[in-house]
Amino acid sequence: MAKTAEQMQQDLLRPVIETSGRFSTAIVGLALLVLAGFSAWMYQIYTGIGVAGINRPVFWGFYITNFVFWIGISHAGTLISAILRLSNATWRRPITRCAEVITVFALLIGAMFPLVHLGRPWLAFWLAPYPNQRGLWPNYRSPLLWDFFAINTYLIGSLTFLILPIIPDCALLRDNLSGWRSKFYGALCLGWRGTQKQWRQLETAMHIMAILIIPVAVSVHTIVSWDFAMTPVPMWHSTIFAPYFVVGAIFSGIAALIIAMVFLRSSLHLEEYLTPHCFDNLGKLLLVMSLLWFYFIFAERLTTWYGNTTSEVAVLWQTVRGPYRHLFWAMVGCNFVVPFPLLAIKKLRTIAGTFLASVTVVIGMWIERYLIIVPSLSHKFLPYAWGTYRPTWVEITITGATFCTMALLYLVFSKLVPVVSIWELKAGLRE
């Protein structure tokens, strides 16, 4: 990078200091769409959960699909950035923060869905263990309770992991702004003065968090997978689910990161920071995950088919050549057939190529979660009780609104904090 530290600082602080008309339009537009989703949710609470398309036997539908999907996306950041930090990959410097912030926002969105899907969401706090007048602890044998703790742990951990490296940049903003904004960032940077001791403490804290957050991230999607794997439902009750889900989560997470980076790059003019080199490296990571994903789904389907248990095979055929076949083959196309050549051939692994591959992967991984949940539930053991599922406008609106929520939160964040860590880039210059 030929830029000096001062130019860098100017480039990266500009989006925070100046506000363009386009930005305000985007914020208002997205906020309206989020409001639409929120209204749909309020309508559902007021009318009853029955306005969703769920039925007997398909008791879980779009909401749980979204839950698993967004928790999966949340593996973008913290896990990837932690691994890159620990392995000291220098190309990580411009991308760690974009990644870490995806984690926090995707987790917030994902963690909202168990509430959205509850029959009586106003009683959701009963999951928390606190001395209560009911004289009852929550049931620690329930995977849903494990979820509750795993997700909260991950949220606290990834928030810490996001905030720690923001502190020096907030101090920078404090020094470069005036008036109330300077005071605002002064409060956010928690008295950062940039002394030798503070830098040492920050480095130690980040190192500890980078190590701690990896097992936490793995545990989160493991436990999400156990929501399914612990129950005797055909094609759910599988030992492969935990690693399969973790791999799928990292897979969709990297794809989400690439998409976010492409938008940031063009809208905030970060062409010289988010370089083709970064995309090339992330593309390679995505390729590895695509192969791993294919390996897992192949192993899962092959053992089910070969094992030939009646109930399991019934679900298998439902997906592969039954009514869900279009979705199934679209998923294989989106997660493997399309991204594989785009990412494997060096000439195609450009920014446009990785972007296209990432978009298909995100779509494919959403379908994957849907195909894990719905076909199994609609074809359990007794044929008389088989069913189908069709989402309603409420579910579709809320699902669409979550993507807008992500974009909105991301935009707001990019206005508050430089999305590329300035001090880390400067540290890279010195090396």
């Binding site: 039925n55 049931n139 329930s142 849903l144 005797p232 053991f381 007794l382």
Partner: protein, 254 residues
Amino acid sequence: MPVLGRLAGEGTRSPLGNRLMSHHWGMAVDLDRCTGCEACVIACQAENNVPTVGEEAARRSRTMHWIRIERYYEGEFPNPRVRFRPVLCQQCDNAPCEPVCPTYASYHTSEGLNAQIYNRCIGTRYCANACPYTVRTFNFFNPAWDKPLHLQLNPDVSVRQVGVMEKCTFCVQRIKAAEIQAKAENRELREGEPTPACVQCCAPKALVFGDLNDPASEVSRLSRSPRGTKLLGELGTQPKITYLQRESWNGEDR
């Protein structure tokens, strides 16, 4: 796994303690006797304040019957045959619905019943997914009854709110009433005293209910029958309902 062991193992122990269960309620369903008349379905609906969801919801697969008659067809026209099987909560001794509930709404009582405690239910619907028999029903909306059925609600049974899971209770209100009566008269419970609504109205006596702890009871005798099978017994859920398989099936009389 002491807790799981107790649940899965000896049916005479309560999941919470070492106390012997005084009763272990079970049922036998004689498939040879079932005519598929669905009187049990209606009786259950009336007894337990089960909402009538209406045509539109039924089309969306949201009926709330706690007991259903499954129909399976065999053969081609003009000789089609139909098999009936009444399916209700199997009251499993090792129930998959119980451990997954985060709020203990799905709960094993000391008499071996799979109780559903409506007040505790927050509506995750996890229990219904875990149940291999798909016998749990969910209140997608607040309950409603076609007029004039709203005038015949059973005062012994609570009415459930929107977002709450419900299921067959073996008419626990009748069991409790019989137990209280027996205790008031200072005597043991007699066989046939607690009778669920479905059993009471089963004209061909296909459904038999009783105490499995009493080896002399009719339900115990039928449960030991060589015709007896458990529905999806291979899953290890240890259902307390025994299905007596048909013997008349291959005869020309049907």
